[in-house]
């Protein structure tokens, strides 16, 4: 039972953190909770779908369908996160301080919310399909005796949800005027990590075949597969043996998101920020 609990929790950690951050980042945008819930529901539905077609996906593209599928959905998530951050740079301060503009911002915010709901859906989908397959495996091999394993899996899920709540309430302790900066930064790192992960899958599929040398090996120091390693992996994209290409992609993603946010920051916001600090 404990083994099942740990396996499911490990898978859910990533989705839990992403959901917590998204909830905090969109706190003041109306309808954000509903959208996040829709993202979670869509992700779970998608998980079942992916689980059912796991065999088909895996055998697609000469046996590298799974890697390409993962790389593609991660790339989508990166674009959505970058878009959201750019939008936030433009409208974040209006939401926080300038109520006159808030109506318009919220109207635009719906699109940005949709982007983040998609990110939540993708995070749930990636980990969820493995959970579904794992639980399905328990049911068909262990039958009735699998009940305690299922219970373990369920507790693992609950713990994952608790982590999500912890992230959310932790972030709420950040003063509102800093919250946008903090969540923007978190989202930028989240995106950079996902971009590097996407490159990893492309390397596995043999699509990217250069700069594949290991940039460093810190697996003895902090394993990527330990719980702490996994949390860092999700939050800042920590990898204990990244390839040079992954590292470069990581830096490039951070840079691009930063430049986008700076380019699209409205002059009004910079003033507003100066006044408030």
């Amino acid at each position: 039972m404990l083994a099942a609990l740990i396996i499911v929790f490990r898978e859910v950690v990533e989705a839990g953190l992403v959901i917590g951050i998204v909830l905090a980042a969109t706190r003041s945008v109306g309808g954000s909770r509903l959208m996040t819930a829709a993202g979670i529901a869509g992700g779970i539905l998608g998980s079942c779908f992916v689980a059912v077609f796991a065999g088909t996906i895996a055998s697609a593209f000469a046996g590298y369908g799974q890697e390409l599928f993962n790389a593609a959905i991660l790339a989508i998530a990166v674009i959505m996160l970058a878009w959201h951050n750019t939008w936030m740079a433009r409208h974040g301060s209006e939401l926080a301080q300038d109520l006159r503009e808030a109506g318009e911002a919220v109207a635009h915010g719906k699109k940005s919310l949709l982007a983040l709901a998609l990110v939540v859906g993708i995070a749930v989908l990636r980990e969820g399909s493995e959970v579904v397959l794992f639980l399905y495996g328990i049911v068909i091999t262990d039958g009735g005796s699998g009940i305690s394993l299922l219970a373990g899996g369920f507790i693992g899920l609950l713990l994952g949800a608790a982590l999500s709540a912890l992230t959310y309430f932790g972030l709420l302790r950040v003063p509102v005027r800093h919250l946008f900066k903090v969540t923007s930064l978190l989202i930028a790192f989240l995106a950079a990590g996902m971009a590097a992960q996407s490159v990893f899958f492309l390397e596995q599929a043999g699509v990217i075949d250069f700069l594949g040398g290991t940039a460093w090996d810190s697996s003895a120091l902090l394993s990527e597969k330990s719980i702490a390693g996994r949390i860092l992996h999700t939050l800042i994209g920590y990898s204990d043996q990244p390839s040079i290409m992954q590292l470069l992609t990581y830096v490039a993603t951070l840079t691009i998101i930063y430049l986008l946010a700076r380019t699209f920051t409205s002059p009004g916001k910079q003033q507003a920020v100066r006044v408030s600090t």
């Binding site: 495996g137 068909i140 250069f210 490039a252």
Partner: protein, 120 residues
Amino acid sequence: MLCLHGASKRGGLLIATTLALASFASLVAEAADPMTYEITLKDQKFAPAELKVSAGTAFIIKLKNENDAPAEFESKEMKFEKVVAGHAEIVVKVKALPKGIFKFVDEYHEDTALGTVEAE
């Protein structure tokens, strides 16, 4: 985002260098077809559970899952993690390994279903 200030110029240069390097590297010819090793997973046992490969050469593992239940073929040390459905087959690419012994597992039964690759 403000904390990233100052990194942008260097980052831009880095991107330019990366792109140049990348386009150059892609021109370099691809390696010959790598060696493929077949492993079967039945119940909670890999066969063969011990694989010998030559160090310093990339290779491919083809895993056949003969169980009804899906499995997740994973090796932290060899850097792969791939779901394999019941009665299905997958392939994973493994980069050239240094000399040593590397573990792999079915993550869903990682205490019982395990095996090793020995690179020599």
